[in-house]
């Protein structure tokens, strides 16, 4: 455990040292939220209806803030870590060490987005305090959030295995970003999409960590549904973990240890 803690601390320190990057990311997120809020403000003002599909303007602002902050936690950087190590040949030294690649990556990821996680939890806490949501709901929300982190990590790990086959991974980043924007509901809740389409992509993994997470925080679901969602997440994580193990074994056979 101690060795993984070191990985975590290392990464956390790097994030703190390069805090300018982090601040830029935060400013950018705020800017995006601002544009969306202006647009929705105009829509709510022009329309005669006060709430669309259960969202008042205030709800919409909270939703956009939460979804955009959580998108900082679920960053795509980890998808490219292994790919980079393979390209430079650094991955060989990594394999010699008595560590589990998956666990190490996980703690690296935790260190990377630790500050974002704290910001998100802080926002949720303030929101719950402000809107008088009970402690049990808060804890349930937190457990949902932590499961989301695990789920995201599993998804990203599977994507990162592409690094064994593709040398230049970076053009993938905007594509993943785009998929995330749409399927996690960065601009609007998934339920706002035309109903046929939104039913198909409801409960997709990106939506679970984006749109649904915000809706859970905002108390849009009853407790039993949140519990069911929690269980659904656990199942997803187990299935993805099994897929990861199979794929990792196959991918490792491709690795030549030369660096490209």
């Amino acid at each position: 455990m101690k060795k993984y803690f070191l990985t975590f601390m290392n990464r956390l320190m790097t994030t703190i040292v390069y805090r300018f990057d982090f601040v830029c990311g935060l400013a950018l997120t705020a800017f995006n939220v601002m544009i969306s809020v202006f647009v929705w403000n105009a829509i709510y003002k022009t329309s005669t209806i006060d709430s669309f599909r259960g969202y008042s303007f205030k709800d919409m602002v909270v939703y956009l803030v939460l979804t955009n902050i959580s998108s900082m936690v679920f960053s795509f950087d980890i998808c490219f870590r292994i790919g980079n190590m393979i390209r430079t040949g650094q991955f060989s030294t990594y394999l010699f060490r008595p560590i589990n690649v998956l666990y190490d990556s996980f703690f690296d990821y935790l260190g990377r987005c630790f500050i974002s996680i704290l910001i998100f939890i802080g926002t949720v806490f303030i929101y719950d305090l402000y809107s008088g949501i009970g402690i049990f709901d808060f804890l349930l929300t937190l457990s949902y959030f932590f499961l989301c982190i695990f789920l995201w990590f599993q998804i990203a790990s599977i994507i990162s295995l592409l690094g064994f086959r593709v040398i230049q991974m970076w053009p993938l980043k905007p594509i993943l970003r785009g998929v995330y924007m749409l399927f996690a509901g960065m601009y609007f809740p998934i339920s706002f999409l035309p109903s046929g389409f939104s039913r198909i992509i409801a409960y997709n993994p990106f939506g679970m960590i984006g749109c649904n997470l915000s809706e859970v925080v905002m108390g849009k679901y009853i407790q039993s549904k949140v519990l069911t969602l929690n269980i659904y997440l656990v199942l997803c994580i187990i299935v993805l973990n099994l897929i990861y193990r199979v794929l990792y074994k196959k991918a490792l056979k491709l690795y030549e240890g030369m660096g490209a």
């Binding site: 300018f20 544009i35 403000n41 105009a42 053009p171 905007p174 594509i175 999409l193």
Partner: protein, 257 residues
């Protein structure tokens, strides 16, 4: 810069495009994807209301498509050059180009074409034709629209060129390069949704709003002659200033990293 040099650069860009096929395909995929996300977002916005202030759905779609064509046009002509230029300045790689008997400003401006962006432009133009098909447009208005698009691309080039040139003076200016893109995303929404002061600044000081809205006003025949002249004058002056800053930057350039 002579035309034959430009032709050679185009040939080089094309060869590069053929070498990095996978990257090119991915670039095409994501540029089209981002446009489609904008369109879907627009559809969602207008499923709740017929108008956003005085903007109908068709106006909105024309706006985001226009913005996309300008953005893609900038990418096609200039983005690859700008990416290379910032690195070249910091790493001290400009020398090879400076000793050539060509005007370095224009040589660098048209250094590389980003061939994959053509597909993005074609897709948006097809969409735009579809939105136009339900309007009565004269040939003159469409010509003015196209002219406005070219001015918009040129404006975006000048702004980005100035940001890239900051690297003559600042070492870590790389972070600033994305800023024009974000502002451009902002102005690709109806300008009436933003606070007045913001619109004024982005119209009269840095005419981002004009760059996107001018082609559309021209399309509707709503443009004034004096406004057009002002806009073109602004671009000419900015070109002149940019050109001079480039020469100042070259004097500052020390050819070592």
């Amino acid at each position: 810069m002579r035309f034959s040099v430009f032709k050679e650069l185009v040939k080089q860009s094309f060869r590069e495009f053929l070498i990095y096929r996978t990257t090119a395909i991915l670039t095409v995929v994501f540029s089209i994807m981002f446009y489609l996300i904008e369109v879907i977002t627009g559809i969602v916005y207008f499923s709740f209301t017929d108008r956003i202030f005085d903007w109908t759905r068709r106006d909105y779609m024309i706006l985001i498509t226009t913005a996309n064509i300008i953005q893609m046009g900038y990418q096609f002509f200039f983005v690859a050059s700008h990416e290379g230029l910032e690195e070249a300045v910091i790493e001290g790689d400009l020398d090879y180009s400076l000793i050539r008997p060509v005007n370095s400003f224009w040589f660098y401006a048209f250094n590389r074409l980003d061939i994959p962006s053509v597909i993005g432009i074609i897709v948006s133009v097809i969409f735009q034709c579809y939105f136009f098909s339900s309007m009565k447009l004269s040939f003159f208005n469409v010509m003015m629209y196209s002219f406005g698009i070219i001015l918009g691309i040129w404006f975006l080039f000048l702004v980005n060129q100035n940001i890239v040139m900051l690297s003559f003076w600042l070492e870590k200016s790389g972070k600033l390069i994305g800023i024009p893109e974000y502002i451009f995303e902002m102005v690709s929404r109806p300008q009436s949704i933003y606070p007045n002061k913001m619109v004024l600044i982005l119209t009269y000081i840095l005419p981002f709003f004009v760059s996107v809205n001018y082609p559309i006003d021209a399309l509707h025949g709503k443009f004034s002659l004096s406004g057009t002249v002002m806009y073109i004058l602004y671009l000419l002056v900015l070109t002149f200033i940019t050109y001079n800053i480039w020469n100042k930057g070259l004097q500052k350039y020390a050819s070592s990293n």
